[in-house]
C-alpha cells in the first residue's frame, strides 16, 4: 500500500504495479491520482538563463540570484513534503525573505482559524464513522477530491452508520451551480446566486434562531430543521464559500456556534497545503504571508499577488505554477524579476524561469511526510528509484551555497 499525492485526501490504500522502474498500473486511485502517479507529461531539465546546464551549476546560480536580491520571496510549498517545507522556512529565515504559499489565494483564511481553534473540527475518519448530515458548501468534492464521498463522507458505512447512505446520511449541497457533487445531493441542493453566501448565512442563522428569514423563508426553515436534527454534522467548506465571504470571513463563526453538533472541514486541494500552513503557524503564528526580519511580520503586502506587484526582486518557486494560477495583472511583474523554479515537471512558470532545478516526484520517486486536509499526518512512499534530488535536498544544497 502506498499513498497518492494527487490531492489533500492523501488516499493511503493505493497499490502500484512497477515494471522496469516505472509505474505501470495504479489500483484504487481515481483518474487524477493515476495521472499524478504516472508522472509528468514533460520532465523538467536543469537550465540557467534558458540554456540547458547541469544541476550543480543551476543550484549555484540560484544561490547567487537569491544572495544578490534585496527582497527575495519564496513561494509555492503546497506540493512539497513537510521536510522540504521546514527546510524552506529555515532558508527564508536565513535570507530574511518573504514567504507565502498557495493558501494565500485559497483556503488560508479558514485553515488559520481552524489552527486558532475558532472552529470545531474533526477527522475524516470521524465523519465516516459518525456523520449523518453532510453539507458541501461551495465545494465540488466529487471533482476536486474525487474519492471524498466514497472514502469518507457519503457512501461508506461507518461505526454508527451501518445501513448505507440512503438511510443513514443526508447530503446537502450549497453552490452557485449544479456541480457533480450537487447532482449526488439530489433533493438537497440549494442554489445560490454568485456571492450570495453571506446572505444565505444570515438567513440560515435567522432560521436556526426560530426567526422567519428574509431570504427564501420556506427553504431556509426546512434546511434549518434538517441541520438541527443532526447528531453529528460536517460542513465541508470549499473554495467557493471562502472566496465569496473573504472580506467578512468571521461571519462563519457565529453560524458554527449555532450548530453545536457540526464540525468544519476545510476542503484543501493541493496535497500538502495544510502541512505548510501548520509548519509556518507553529514557527510564526501565521499560516502564510510573512516576512522574516529578525521576527516574522504578517501583512497582506506579503501575499504573492501584492508582493509581485511591489516589493520583490527575486522569486523562488517550489512545486507550484504561479504563472498559470495567478491573476493576469501580476504576470508582467513575474517576467521582470529572476525566477528560480524547483519542480519535477515543465510548467508555464518553468518556461520563463532564469534557473530551473528538476526534483524527484514526491510520493513516487521520494517519500516524506504530509498533512491531510483534516490535519492527520500521512507518509508518502517511494515507489521507484530515481537519480533526482528531492526538493528538501535541493533546498538544503541552496542553504549550503548561500
Amino acid at each position: 500500500m502506498v499513498t497518492c499525492p494527487g490531492c489533500a485526501l492523501l488516499c493511503d490504500d493505493i497499490e502500484v504495479v512497477v515494471e522496469n522502474n516505472r509505474i505501470k498500473e495504479t489500483r484504487n486511485t481515481c483518474r487524477r491520482g493515476a495521472a499524478r502517479m504516472k508522472g509528468c507529461v514533460n520532465r523538467l531539465a536543469p537550465s540557467v538563463a534558458q540554456k540547458p546546464d547541469d544541476i550543480e551549476n543551476a543550484i549555484k546560480k540560484a544561490a547567487a540570484i537569491l544572495q544578490n536580491a534585496k527582497s527575495p520571496m519564496l513561494f509555492g510549498w503546497s506540493n512539497s513534503t513537510c521536510e522540504a517545507q521546514l527546510e524552506g522556512i529555515q532558508l527564508a529565515k536565513k535570507m530574511s525573505a518573504i514567504m507565502d504559499d498557495t493558501s494565500s489565494f485559497c483556503q488560508g483564511l479558514l485553515i488559520e482559524r481552524i489552527l486558532q481553534k475558532k472552529f470545531r473540527t474533526c477527522t475524516l475518519d470521524d465523519i465516516r464513522n459518525k456523520a449523518d448530515v453532510l453539507v458541501y458548501w461551495g465545494s465540488d468534492a466529487q471533482d476536486s477530491q474525487p474519492r471524498h464521498l466514497s472514502r469518507f463522507s457519503y457512501f461508506p458505512r461507518g461505526e454508527l452508520r451501518q445501513r448505507g447512505y440512503e438511510e443513514d446520511r443526508i447530503a446537502i449541497a450549497i453552490d452557485v451551480r449544479e456541480s457533480n457533487t450537487a447532482k449526488i445531493c439530489k433533493g438537497h441542493f440549494y442554489r445560490i446566486p454568485p456571492k450570495g453566501d453571506r446572505e444565505f448565512i444570515l438567513a440560515l442563522m435567522d432560521a436556526l434562531s426560530g426567526k422567519v428569514p428574509a431570504y427564501e423563508p420556506k427553504k431556509m426553515l426546512e434546511l434549518a430543521a434538517i441541520l438541527k436534527k443532526a447528531e453529528f454534522g460536517a460542513i465541508f467548506v470549499g473554495l467557493g464559500l471562502t472566496y465569496s465571504i473573504k472580506d467578512d470571513f468571521d461571519i462563519l463563526i457565529p453560524l458554527a456556534d449555532k450548530l453545536p453538533n457540526f464540525n468544519i472541514m476545510p476542503m484543501v486541494g493541493h496535497y500538502n497545503m495544510r502541512g505548510f500552513n501548520e509548519a509556518l503557524f507553529k514557527e510564526t503564528g501565521f499560516v502564510n504571508r510573512v516576512k522574516f526580519d529578525g521576527k516574522a511580520i504578517h501583512d497582506s503586502r506579503y501575499s504573492i499577488v501584492e508582493a509581485l506587484r511591489k516589493s520583490i526582486d527575486a522569486l523562488l518557486v517550489v512545486g507550484s505554477d504561479p504563472l498559470s494560477s495567478l491573476p493576469r495583472s501580476v504576470i508582467p511583474h513575474l517576467a521582470n524579476i529572476p525566477v528560480i523554479c524547483i519542480d519535477p515537471c515543465v510548467t508555464l512558470t518553468s518556461k520563463i524561469a532564469a534557473v530551473t532545478i528538476p526534483c524527484a516526484v514526491s510520493g513516487v520517486e521520494t517519500g516524506g511526510s504530509t498533512v491531510r486536509m483534516d490535519g492527520k499526518r500521512v507518509e508518502l512512499s517511494k515507489c521507484i528509484e530515481s537519480n533526482y534530488l528531492n526538493d528538501k535536498e535541493i533546498l538544503a544544497r541552496l542553504m549550503e551555497a548561500l
Binding site: D13, E15, N28, C30, Q142, R147, R151, P156
Partner: protein, 152 residues
C-alpha cells in the same frame, strides 16, 4: 444509446411471427433487451436484407461488449471516484472491511475495482440484476455523476 425505433426500422416489418414474437416491434424490444438475437428473424437472413442486417449488427455492437447482465462501462467518462465500488450492495456484502467502509477492495469477490483511475467490472454474475431472483438495482448507476455505468 440505441432505441427500439432505430432497431425496428431496420427489420422487415412484415410481422410474420417467424421469430416467435407477435410483431416486428416486439422483436425489436426483445433485441434491445438481449432476449433475442438477430438471426432469429428468419427473413432478415435473406440476401435482400443484407444491408439492414449489417446495420443492425453495428447498432447492437457496443452492447455486444456488455456482460450478460447488460452492463456497459464507459471508461472515457469514468473518473475513478469509487462511488460505485462502495455503493454496490454486492461489494458491501462481499467485502465488509474494504469496499463497504470506503477503502480499497480487500478481495476478489467484489464487482467493481478501480484500475489506472477507471472502474472495471469483475464477478458480473453476482450482480443483482442477474439470475433467477433478479431485482432492478440502481445502486451503481445513481451514485455515478459521470453517467459511466449503464445497463442495456
Amino acid at each position: 444509446m440505441v432505441t427500439v425505433m432505430e432497431l425496428y426500422r431496420l427489420l422487415p416489418g412484415t410481422n410474420c411471427k417467424k421469430c416467435g414474437e407477435s410483431t416486428c416491434m416486439a422483436f425489436a424490444v426483445a433485441l434491445l433487451s438481449r432476449k433475442k438475437n438477430i438471426p432469429e428473424c428468419i427473413p432478415i437472413l435473406l440476401e435482400n436484407f443484407k444491408k439492414q442486417k449489417e446495420k443492425l449488427e453495428l447498432l447492437l455492437l457496443p452492447s455486444a461488449g456488455a456482460e450478460e447482465t447488460g452492463m456497459i462501462i464507459h471508461p472515457e467518462l469514468c473518473t475513478g471516484c469509487g462511488n460505485c465500488v462502495v455503493a454496490c450492495p454486492v461489494d458491501v456484502a462481499n467485502d465488509p472491511r474494504g469496499a463497504a467502509v470506503g477503502c480499497a477492495p480487500t478481495n476478489d469477490k467484489v464487482i467493481f475495482k478501480v484500475k489506472d483511475g477507471k472502474v472495471v467490472a469483475l464477478n458480473i454474475k453476482e450482480c443483482r440484476r442477474f439470475g433467477k431472483n433478479r431485482v432492478l438495482c440502481y445502486a451503481c448507476i445513481d451514485p455515478c455523476p459521470a453517467g459511466a455505468i449503464e445497463f442495456v
